[in-house]
Amino acid sequence: MTMEIIPASPAGIEKIAADMKAEGRRLVVITCTAAAEEYDITYSFDKDNDLVHYRITVPEETVIPSIGASYGGAFVYENEIHDLYGFTFTGMTLDFGGTFIRTSVPYPFKKKETPAPTVTKVSREDAS
């Protein structure tokens, strides 16, 4: 499981996905994580247990082209990233418009504006 991550740009991700598909690779996961200032979106493709990662680093609320044209299964990850982090994907094969994961806090994993709820501690009064 090598950990080589190839940087990419949001505009070029569709082409990368098409190339990966032509190579016969399978989409494993699209991972979105908060980095220092921006967000990292990592696309992982697999063939015979060999993982290839492509990463785009984008600021909040960027519009990213969907790779749904190449991988029909990408819509679950893209909708999830939209619902949890607030990115917009264009051209998803199935667009839920923010209702895929219904959370009480909008975009719970987004950094600044709406911080994720802190650890809840059940008070004695509630318990009894």
């Binding site: 950990m3 996961v29 819509f75 219904r102």
Partner: protein, 360 residues
């Protein structure tokens, strides 16, 4: 023949669903034209807890992502942290992890077979499957201390050792369990009623399975030999692993894969016990994880990916999990298109949905 299209909501509360998932089924004359899934009923945001717990403590939380594949979650998380810190775990710990991983696979598959039989209205088979599962849970409890949440993995190895005498006793008991399973699987694969309800239902073609990213028994039921256990992880290379596949591409094929995997897992456990090396079960861990890592392993339901990122402190900064059920949702949508309304419950079950796991 085209009638008016109606939308039938399926779930989140439905007798076949142990956990909430909602499907909007677009129906035309009893045939499903399209299925639109929506999740989010049990989203817990567990991943964001990672920066509030030390990495050594988070193992217990990672284990609780899912109640059934709990062991694999903890071992994958530990594997990830060990990969970040460059820790080599002792051979014996590796073998024990493999053994428990296979035990949890057997118990998960038996649970699924039981639930599946129940969904088809075959209650005596359901009880039988769960009866056998109980003896597997007994083995797990006697070795790890927990029935479904084993809590036995830690960063650097495992927390409990199993004596060699106990292992040889286990070897014998497994033979009894195997013969019981043989009887039960015979019913699953050869019963007239079950065959009638499964063969040709919920078709997922190999190409579709590959493009939609199906993993685990769903992919293997469509003839794809896709299994993370074929890669270098745990002790699978030492025991010689070959994935089970079936070519039916339907519900029966997926059921067949799981049935055959029961015996394959028993086989692996026999080999593991025979080849169990002696020595320590854990190494002391010093330092903190730094960098990022993708850790993969094969759960009963398919491939799981844990993404970890550390910054050199006790707390990991990012943790993301991709569970097999989430990846199998597009395949489920493909399977449901064209199915009959009456078959929908059992088609949904053939992907072995685990919603708690899927949403974390």
């Amino acid at each position: 023949m085209t009638g008016r299209r109606t939308v039938v909501p399926f779930g989140p509360q439905h007798p076949v669903l142990p956990e909430p998932i909602h499907l909007d089924l677009v129906i035309e004359d009893e045939h499903v034209v399209e299925a639109i899934p929506s999740i989010g009923y049990v989203h817990r945001g567990l991943e964001s807890l990672v920066d509030r717990r030390e990495y050594a403590d988070f193992v217990y939380l990672a284990e609780r992502i899912c109640g059934i594949c709990s062991f694999t979650h903890s071992s994958t998380f530990c594997q990830g942290v060990e990969g970040l810190m460059g820790i080599e775990i002792p051979e014996r710990a590796n073998y024990l992890r493999t053994m428990w991983g296979e035990y949890s696979r057997i118990h998960s598959h038996l649970l699924w077979l039981g639930l599946f039989a129940d969904a088809l209205g075959f209650e005596s088979l359901f009880y039988n499957a769960w009866k056998i599962r109980e003896s597997i849970l007994n083995e797990l409890e006697a070795t790890t201390g927990g029935r479904v949440i084993q809590g036995v993995c830690k960063v650097g190895g495992v927390r409990r050792d199993v004596t060699n005498e106990f292992l040889s006793g286990m070897d014998k008991r497994l033979e009894t369990i195997e013969s019981e399973m043989q009887e039960m699987v015979n019913v699953f694969l050869n019963d007239y009623t079950l065959k009638k309800r499964l063969i040709g239902k919920g078709i997922l073609k190999p190409d579709d399975a590959y493009n939609l990213g199906a993993v685990g028994p769903v992919a293997r039921g469509s003839g794809l030999a896709q299994d993370v256990r074929t890669s270098e992880y745990l002790a699978y290379q030492d025991v010689g692993f070959k994935p089970v596949t079936a070519d039916g591409c339907d519900g029966y094929a997926r059921c067949e894969v799981r049935c055959k995997e029961l015996f394959q897992s028993v086989d692996i456990i026999h080999k593991i016990i025979a080849a169990m090396p002696d020595g320590e079960v854990a190494v002391p861990v010093k330092g903190n994880p730094d960098g990022e890592y993708f850790s993969r392993s094969e759960q009963p339901r398919g491939e799981v990916v844990h993404y970890l990122r550390g910054n050199g402190t006790k707390y990991l900064t990012q943790f993301r999990v991709r569970t097999p059920t989430l990846t199998n949702v597009p395949s489920l949508v493909a399977m449901l298109a064209g199915a009959e309304l009456a078959d929908v419950p059992q088609i949904v079950l053939t992907i072995d949905p685990c919603i708690g796991c899927m949403e974390r």
